[in-house]
């Protein structure tokens, strides 16, 4: 019986990360290392205007004065920033080749990932921008979106075609001086998505970006900028995968969101970067700065994230609530297994009057992993009548893992109401027993209970993503019971 159980666990462990293939696409990769020349080279390759080059150079010079942050509850391997290639372009077979054509291998890759790049799009009704390594390879449904004045393209194209818009907003939410990784990204970012929803337009379909790191020894530094003008609405999805490699790969992205008056943005992430093997070897270092600025009155922003991948996650999607009556939400499920480490949470900065924020965070740790929630709620003295509710729960599966909660509450206004609650426990034995009694195996029962536990957050995801997220939760935790 025991043997049988073990063999099952082994099977599961083997199949675990199903996106771990690499694609044999010819990729143009520049030399490893980071210097002013490299920054200039990236800028030149993308044919960028001078202001952007200056922006990059300023960021690079500032980055050189910084030290990597060490405050996270993480055991971070030392990153050799000179041992990374900062630009990999899988679309360039040969530099002199004519108009960009998508490599069939690349198409296969995205097929394997289940990303419908072509006709399937019509059925699912999602517009996709796919980014592999450093370059956006394909954006679908652009024309259809254009009819309504919506701009959805890679940020490189946006720089060429809508320079004023990009210049106005780039770095306005996450300035390059924000932190170490933000400065690095601002210096070397290669691509990402740009979204502009004009005044009064409700984006008719979900917009989506799929990120994939493929080439060896490269880092991914994408940058996403979303601007949602007055009375507009958009729902944006982001998904990510990477091949299995036994070295750590660096992913340092920036997402900036600007929400104007009465506008609403929903940003959902299913993060499934390669988490490393069962011994903790390899995996992606996911060091991301995400922030939304709720500028207009009654604007709304919600972050929903399902974090199952990455060896290390260091990510705090934040909201700056300046507009009067603006509302922000943060829903997160973070699952860590084996030797994964996650230090994730949010920041809610209340500046405007009658602003409201909600934080629901669910952490699940298994194996030898460490899972931390770190959140800040700051109520400035101008934020009359601000309201925050935070709830973060942690579930522990196994005696060698850790679950931690580090909330910060800084309240500078006497009319604010800030509430925080947190619980940490293991799966109730009563619940397990109840399931067992009804013929459900322990492993299935854990899956059921975990799914129920994460439901509050998963329900917030768009439907297609919710299904994927549920599957991912199962896969991430398989083999962790027993």
């Amino acid at each position: 019986m025991m043997e049988e159980k073990n063999s099952f666990v082994r099977q599961v462990a083997e199949k675990k990360y199903e996106y771990g293939f690499t694609t044999d696409v010819q990729t143009e990769i520049i030399e490893k290392g980071l210097s002013e020349e490299v920054v200039r080279l990236i800028s030149a390759k993308k044919g960028e205007p001078d202001w952007l080059l200056q922006f990059r150079l300023n960021a690079f010079r500032y980055w050189q004065t910084l030290e990597p942050p060490t405050w996270g509850h993480l055991q971070m391997p030392e990153i050799d920033f000179q041992d990374i290639s900062y630009y990999a372009d899988p679309t360039r077979k040969k530099a002199e080749e004519g108009p960009k054509e998508i490599d069939p291998e690349l198409m296969k890759t995205f097929d394997k990932l289940g990303i419908p790049l072509e006709e399937r799009m019509a059925l699912s009704g999602t517009a996709v921008d796919a980014v592999m390594d450093s370059v956006s390879v394909k954006t679908t449904f652009r024309e259809k979106l254009q009819e309504q004045g919506i701009i959805f393209c890679s940020i490189s194209e946006a720089v060429r075609e809508h320079p004023d818009l990009v210049r106005q907003y780039l770095g306005s939410v996450v300035p390059y001086k924000d932190n170490f990784y933000a400065a690095l990204n601002s210096a070397v970012f290669s691509d990402g998505s740009f979204v502009y929803i004009p005044r009064g337009v409700r984006c008719p379909m979900e917009l989506s970006t799929y990120f994939r790191i493929n080439a060896r020894g490269t880092g991914q530094f994408e940058r996403t900028l979303i601007v949602c003008d007055d009375n507009a609405y958009v729902s944006y999805l982001e998904g990510c995968t990477a091949p299995m490699r036994d070295e750590n790969q660096l992913h340092a992205a920036i997402v900036e969101i600007v929400v104007m008056e009465n506008a609403e943005v929903k940003y959902s992430t299913v993060q499934n970067w390669y988490p490393g093997d069962a011994q903790g070897k390899g995996g992606v270092l996911n060091l991301v700065t995400k922030r939304g600025h709720l500028r207009g009155a009654n604007s709304r922003l919600s972050w929903t994230q399902v974090e199952t991948g990455s060896a290390i996650t260091w990510k705090y999607p934040s909201c700056v609530l300046s507009g009067e009556g603006s509302q922000a939400e943060f829903y997160s499920v973070a699952v860590t297994n084996n030797f994964q480490q996650a230090d994730t949470g949010t920041k809610m900065i209340h500046i405007g009057r009658n602003t409201r924020s909600t934080i629901i965070s669910k952490g699940i740790s298994a194996g030898h992993s460490q899972n931390s929630y770190r959140g800040l709620v700051r109520v400035a003295s101008t934020a009359e009548g601000a309201r925050n509710y935070s709830s973060c729960d942690s579930l522990l599966l196994g005696s060698s893992c850790g679950a931690h909660t580090f909330p910060y509450m800084d309240v500078h206004n006497e009319t604010a109401v800030v509430e925080h609650e947190a619980t940490t426990s293991k799966i109730s034995e009563d619940q397990l027993f109840y399931c067992n009694q009804r013929g459900i195996s322990t492993e299935d029962a854990v899956g059921l209970i975990v799914n129920g536990y994460a439901r509050d957050v998963i329900n917030k995801l768009p439907m297609e993503f919710a299904v994927e997220a549920q599957k991912l939760l199962g896969v991430s935790l398989e083999g962790s019971v027993g």
Binding site: H404, M409, A416, V417, E421, S425
Partner: protein, 451 residues
């Protein structure tokens, strides 16, 4: 000159004098502490534990120190009449850092129980003191520990031998008294051996209109099956800065209640560090802060579950008015193997004015799976509906607000097991809310200053 340098110079120049007026056990740790302090200096606000208090700024002014142990004339009974009704205590006084030998309670303590000057204890019971002194409050852990270990010459020693129960509470009144601005470095050593029981009540007062800076490092040892209740009540004045580090270690089946109430102060930074080292030990921490004006209170706690089946509870409440700044950082650490730990942490805060600031940071760090841990924290104001209800029934608004604040704080006081002290604290808290002076009722004679 930076804040550290004056202490480095002071110690380098006065090393001999400090040691001559102290005991060998205390002197033995000074040089190491000095080295730690010289290397690390004061923590900046970037250090997580000191986010909310600027230590260097508090230590920067030039204070006098009584290193030659000059006798400061004071008759504590003249300046202090803490007649807590129905509270019969064995009353002792510590003036600055010196145990006041002249004023001793009439009733004697049970056999073997010692309450005395730490300096004298170090001379009379060198083995006992040597076994415990400096074992928890390590200089390298913290700058305040280092500074205190390097400069402290005396303090208080409480010892309850195995199996002894001290029924009558031991009340220690710490009086800050000086004619010049003074820095006081006080050291406390409390030892409860296996099965011992004691109740300790510390009242902090400042009776002169001077600036005071007090560091207090307490090491508390609670043996197997022992039971300790420890209450600290601070009623000093706006020119007093207090840095207190209390380390408590508990053995199996022991229990402790630690209560810290701040009614009047200038700047207080209280660190309470409890290690549950033995199985089935229990600790309850209570904290109450009422602050207005420019008061700053920073409570920083750590409950370290090192053994299995331990329980901890923590409740801190703040009422902030004026420009007061309150900070609470409570960390609960459950170590690997500390299964069946139960921990509950609550921090509730009322901000009553625009300029009041509250920082709250309840933290859980858990490395064992079979645990039940939770924390909750709120910052808000008085319930408008409750206010309306009371006013509807003819209670004036000011009175209604007061009643609600009082009820809010009541939860902290109601948990105090010692009923006579609980009643007394209710009285003091109500009085404090009524804007009455923030002095212990008994101190009017002495505290006739304008503040």
């Amino acid at each position: 000159m930076n804040a550290e340098q004056q202490y480095i110079d002071l110690y380098s120049q006065q090393r001999e004098l400090i040691a001559r007026r102290s005991a060998p056990i205390m002197n033995a740790l000074r040089d190491e502490a000095f080295e730690c302090f010289r290397q690390a200096g004061f923590p900046s606000r970037k250090v997580e534990r000191y986010r909310y208090t600027d230590v260097a700024a508090a230590f920067a002014p030039d204070y006098g120190l009584n290193l030659s142990r000059l006798h400061i004339p004071v008759n504590p009974y003249d300046v202090f009449h803490c007649d807590v009704p129905n509270l019969s205590t064995s009353l002792y006084f510590v003036v600055n850092d010196q145990f006041h030998e002249q004023a001793q309670p009439k009733a004697s303590l049970p056999e073997g129980v010692q309450v005395m000057s730490l300096l004298r204890a170090a001379q009379e019971f060198p083995e006992l003191v040597g076994k415990y002194y400096g074992t928890q409050a390590r200089a390298r852990k913290d700058a305040v520990n280092a500074l205190n270990t390097m400069l402290a010459q005396d303090g208080l020693f409480v010892y309850v031998p195995r199996g002894r129960a001290v029924e009558r509470p031991i009340q220690v009144v710490n009086i800050l008294r000086a004619d010049v601005d003074l820095m006081v470095n006080r050291r406390l050593l409390v030892i409860l051996e296996q099965g011992a029981q004691a109740k300790l009540l510390f009242c902090d007062h400042a009776i002169d209109d001077r600036k005071f800076l007090a560091t207090q490092v307490s090491e508390v040892f609670v043996g197997e099956n022992a039971h300790l209740e420890l209450y600290e009540l601070e009623e000093t004045h706006a020119q007093t800065s207090r840095f207190s580090n209390m380390y408590v270690s508990q053995q199996a089946y022991s229990s402790a209640v630690i209560d810290s109430i701040t009614l009047q102060n200038g700047l207080s930074r209280n660190r309470t560090d409890v290690s549950l080292c033995g199985e089935y030990s229990e600790v309850t921490l209570y904290g109450g802060v009422i602050a207005d004006g420019q008061q700053r209170v920073d409570n920083n706690t750590l409950i370290d579950h090192r053994a299995a089946c331990c329980q901890s509870r923590e409740l801190y409440k703040y009422v902030l008015d004026g420009q007061a700044v309150g900070a609470f950082a409570g960390r609960v650490l459950v170590r690997e193997g500390a299964q069946k730990s139960v921990s509950q942490e609550t921090n509730a805060n009322l901000c009553a004015s625009r300029q009041a600031r509250m920082y709250s940071q309840p933290m859980l760090e858990i490395y064992a799976d079979d645990v039940k841990c939770s924390h909750g924290s709120t910052v808000g104001q008085l319930d408008e509906a409750a206010l309306f209800y009371m006013r509807q029934r003819g209670i004036p608004e000011a009175e209604a607000r007061l009643l609600l604040k009082f009820a809010f704080m009541g939860q902290v006081l109601d948990g105090i097991p010692m009923s006579s002290l609980r009643d007394r604290l209710h009285y003091l808290v109500e009085k404090r809310f009524r804007g009455g002076l923030g002095k212990c009722g008994g101190c009017q004679n002495a505290l006739n200053c304008e503040r």
